[in-house]
């Protein structure tokens, strides 16, 4: 008889019109790291919401057995009390509070007269911080911490509440490799102390490096639960998508033409700390029909580079931009669009979409003036064009009047792409185009990009996933701490070489 900390039995949960979970069984052994994988929309998040009590016990059927007892959770408080802690993709900490305040938020250490006992609070906080190897002053404000530190702090907070089962949802999405490694080490250490962990991730390398057991969900059903050692990566992917993915990166050889776009001597200072230079003398160019990758670690300044090009980041921006050998000036996204340049942000929800509006609204947004006759929008023409792109890109939706908030990550990204294709761009800047998107949709996005490039578009692609950069790009620039450290052709690019440039071990003489 196995010792299970958690058994979820025959969980079925339906939303109006959709069966999100269909008779799911999910068991976690005490002291193991159990990876939960599956495409977006497979039901991972819903299952975890059921477990943590966000979906109340009356809204689903089936049983949750924790430490041998049937539990009926009706709120996140209920599950927390039983030692379950869920740590979200988007971190939930109040930025204006200190570390100590955040950790004890809602369970403040009370002294005399019910007032907060600050010395004790700080003392206990230091103890907790040691457990996750964070060497920080408890009075430090959250706003001053990096993403990696925040992630560890969230775990620290969970442990302070005596959590015995941690749920991590894409914990390394925003972390550098180094930070990720630290996080994984910590989880291994916690495992040896008897803490169990449910680990949700799209990054299969990580899953294999850390998980003892893997469960695959697909379309709301448990496909398989197996020890990680008994399964290969290709098998896992085929369980996830229900088909073998022989070729993740369908690279097509392009024949690039002349240089169409160039940034010269581009330097930018920090938007708030105005005397600090964050981008140093950057020179990049793109040829017609070429995919140029920009690799780099988190914080290397890749997004800042493109946002500053769009006039949406930085102060004291210096340098020149050339389009077809002609010097142009871009002060806003509107200027860029006029020159046929578009920027597809890494943060779809924040910068890409008006979530409360439908597909039609979002896709037509940049080109409403073009679609207007005598000041009035030609609705029919608009619907025809939007519908055309939505079909071309195969957005999965019942109609273009679907609210974008209800779409999955991959479909959201396609809607954003459709939006920019409406502007008829000749240069498309893609910032982390496949972040948080499931494997199947990724391939579709790659195919779309390849098709566009074959039709003569030029693409600049920022990506943190090395295989993606290597698989897609014709040429790769590598950034490190606000500078370009290397430029590598597809033919000579290897993961090791790029990593050396990324970490600044190697720099090109430029």
């Amino acid at each position: 008889m196995e010792d299970y900390i958690l058994q979820m039995k025959n969980i079925t949960k339906t939303f109006p019109g959709v069966k999100a979970l269909d008779n799911v069984t999910f068991n976690v052994k005490r002291g193991e790291i159990h990876a939960l994988v599956g495409e977006n929309g497979a039901g991972k998040s819903t299952l975890m919401k059921v477990l943590s009590g966000i979906h109340a016990s009356s809204s689903y059927s089936g049983d949750i057995v924790l430490n041998g007892e049937v539990q009926r959770f009706n709120s996140i408080k209920d599950s927390e009390r039983q030692g379950i802690a869920i740590i979200y993709q988007e971190l939930a900490l109040c930025k204006n509070l200190s570390i100590a305040e955040s950790i004890f938020l809602g369970s403040e250490v009370k002294g005399k007269f019910g007032l907060i006992d600050w010395p004790e609070t700080y003392h206990r906080t230091s103890e907790h911080l040691k457990r996750v190897h964070l060497d920080l002053n408890p009075e430090t404000k959250i706003i001053n911490l990096g993403v990696g530190q925040l992630q560890l702090l969230e775990i620290c907070k969970a442990l302070s509440k005596n959590a015995s089962l941690l749920i991590l949802d894409e914990p390394t999405a925003a972390l550098t490799d180094d930070e990720s490694e630290r996080l994984l080490d910590l989880l291994r250490e916690l495992r040896s102390n008897g803490v169990s962990c449910i680990y949700i991730s799209h990054k299969l390398d990580e899953v294999f490096s850390i998980a003892d057991t893997i469960t695959v969900l697909r379309d709301g059903q448990t496909i398989i639960t197996k020890p990680a050692a008994e399964i290969t990566k290709n098998q896992l992917i085929s369980y996830m998508v229900g088909r073998e993915l022989s070729q993740m990166f369908p690279h097509v050889d392009h024949t690039p033409g002349d240089v169409v776009f160039e940034m010269r001597n581009w330097s930018v200072n920090h938007p708030q700390i105005k005397e600090k230079e964050v981008l140093h003398n950057i020179n990049i160019n793109v040829r017609k029909g070429e995919i140029v990758g920009i690799a780099g670690l988190m914080g290397a300044g890749r997004t800042e580079l493109m946002m500053s090009l769009m006039g949406a980041y930085g102060s004291n921006v210096r340098g020149e931009v050339y389009y077809n050998n002609e010097k142009i000036k871009i002060q806003s996204s509107a200027d860029a669009i006029k020159h046929g340049i578009c920027y597809v942000s890494e943060d779809r929800k924040r910068y890409g979409l008006v979530l409360m509006q439908d597909i039609k609204f979002n896709v037509s947004l940049p080109v409403l003036e073009r679609l207007s006759r005598l000041g009035l929008i030609d609705d029919n023409e608009l619907i025809k064009e939007v519908d055309g792109y939505v079909r071309d890109l195969r957005v999965k939706t019942p109609s273009i009047e679907q609210i974008t908030h209800n779409l999955s990550g991959g479909n959201m990204q396609k809607v954003v792409l459709a939006k920019w294709l409406m502007t008829n761009p000749s240069i498309m800047i893609l910032d982390e185009p496949t972040r948080g998107i499931d494997v199947g949709a990724k391939v579709e996005i790659y195919n779309i990009v390849n098709k566009l490039v074959q039709e003569g578009m030029s693409v600049i692609m920022i990506s943190s996933e090395l295989p993606e950069v290597l698989g897609m790009s014709d040429r790769i620039y590598i950034m490190h701490e606000g500078s370009i450290t290397g430029e590598v052709d597809r033919s000579e690019a290897t993961q090791e070489l790029i990593m050396e440039y990324c970490t600044g071990i190697r720099t090109m003489n430029r």
């Binding site: 996204s333 942000s345 409360m356 947004l365 409403l368 003036e369 009035l376 929008i377």
Partner: protein, 388 residues
């Protein structure tokens, strides 16, 4: 049948408010001994809502954009004082006075827009400041006295009727009936044209049955209104002004790039900016429109009373904002319709009017208005699945 259901479901919120109006009307119909739905009273009802309706149509845009305008009441009072002063003390030509007043309203919008759109101050603070500034200016312009302009053309803007072309003693008001007929005709024809266009694009259109049903219902509503005017004193000029403004603002909101940009800014300012929307300019224009419509509202209001008092328009902003909110506009931005706010204004005016007939005082009226506002928003909030 399925199609009818889905159409109904999609617009459930507007239908709830229309049903609410029908219920309110039915209650007043029986409790006021049928007085409430007599032609004379229905005309009064629409007259009562004109100034609120004019201003709240643009308040919808302000709120959709994610802002608020607390100064509307004072700007209404100020515009009234200004035009009364120009007519009475400056002896100005009425058309010129109207033009100057509207221009002054637009300037108010330029001023507020500067602080909100350009300097990025919260609209709440900017317009709260204006609320006081313009209340002060009213006192300055009127010298603390009530001005009665007594100009015939000006008065007609607030209380006049279109003359009956069949003569003043005719049995039917031919003007109202002809215009009513033309409105119905224009509506039906435009709907048929748009439906045929959609067909030519091979889009799905509603079945012929539902289409005819829709045409019939709307035509009956339009017909009812004009028939009512025919039975009473004719077509009130302020209501025509309201209708034209509503039509125009609704068109701007739904069918122009500017209008769609307003919704985008309110929904996600950063995404809008990166999509090439000029957030600053758009926001500024919204405030200019608001100033313009506040002035228009002030003109109608003052003309109706034929007097500009220093307290004129005090608290009007609460009615105007409430009308927008009852009509489904979200104070958080991104959501709201001009048609909705007119329904909201009609709900408020119906309460006010019906309770007056029942000789109820401010005590009951404030209570009723307050609770209706709360319940309207609560129903909207509770019937929605998610925040979107």
């Amino acid at each position: 049948m399925e199609q009818l259901k889905s159409t109904l479901k999609k617009n459930i919120q507007q239908y709830t408010m229309i049903i609410a109006i029908l219920i309110i009307w039915a209650i007043f119909y029986f409790t006021t001994d049928h007085i409430f739905l007599m032609p004379r009273n229905i005309t009064n009802l629409f007259l009562q809502m004109t100034y609120v309706g004019i201003a709240s149509s643009t308040m919808v845009l302000i709120m959709v954009c994610g802002h608020i305008d607390l100064s509307v009441g004072s700007v209404i009072g100020f515009s009234g004082a200004l035009i009364a002063y120009l007519l009475k003390h400056a002896g100005m030509n009425v058309w010129l006075a109207l033009l100057i007043t509207l221009f002054a309203g637009a300037l108010v919008g330029v001023w507020q827009g500067f602080w909100v759109a350009k300097v990025n101050l919260p609209a709440f603070i900017v317009t709260l400041s204006s609320e006081w500034v313009f209340r002060g200016l009213i006192i300055g312009v009127t010298n603390s006295e009530t001005i009665q302009p007594n100009n015939a053309i000006f008065k007609a803007i607030g209380q006049g009727y279109l003359p009956n072309i069949a003569g003043p003693d005719a049995k039917f008001n031919l003007t109202a009936l002809i215009i009513g007929g033309l409105c119905i005709l224009a509506y039906v024809v435009s709907q048929i044209i748009s439906r045929n266009k959609k067909k030519r694009y091979e889009f799905n259109v509603e079945s012929t049955g539902i289409f005819i049903l829709k045409l019939a219902i709307i035509s009956i509503v339009i017909g009812f209104f004009f028939w009512n005017c025919n039975k009473d004193r004719g077509l009130p000029i302020p209501v025509i002004i309201l209708a034209v403004i509503i039509f125009a603002i609704n068109m701007i909101a739904k069918n122009t790039a500017f209008g769609r940009h307003v919704y985008a800014i309110g929904g996600n300012r950063e995404a809008a900016e990166l999509s090439g929307v000029n957030v600053r300019r758009t926001t500024w224009i919204v405030f200019i429109l608001m100033g313009l419509m506040s002035a228009a509202s002030g003109i109608v209001y003052t003309a109706r009373l034929n007097s500009a008092a220093i307290a004129a328009g005090t608290g009007a902003e609460t009615d105007i904002i409430a009308a927008a909110i009852i009509g489904g506009t979200s104070p958080a931005g991104g959501k709201g319709t001009v048609v909705g706010c007119i329904i909201g204004a009609l709900v408020m005016a119906s309460l006010e009017n019906g309770m007056s007939i029942l000789s109820m005082g401010s005590f009951e009226k404030y209570l009723a208005k307050g609770l209706v506002l709360l319940f309207a928003v609560a129903i909207d909030y509770l019937t929605k699945d998610s925040n979107y």
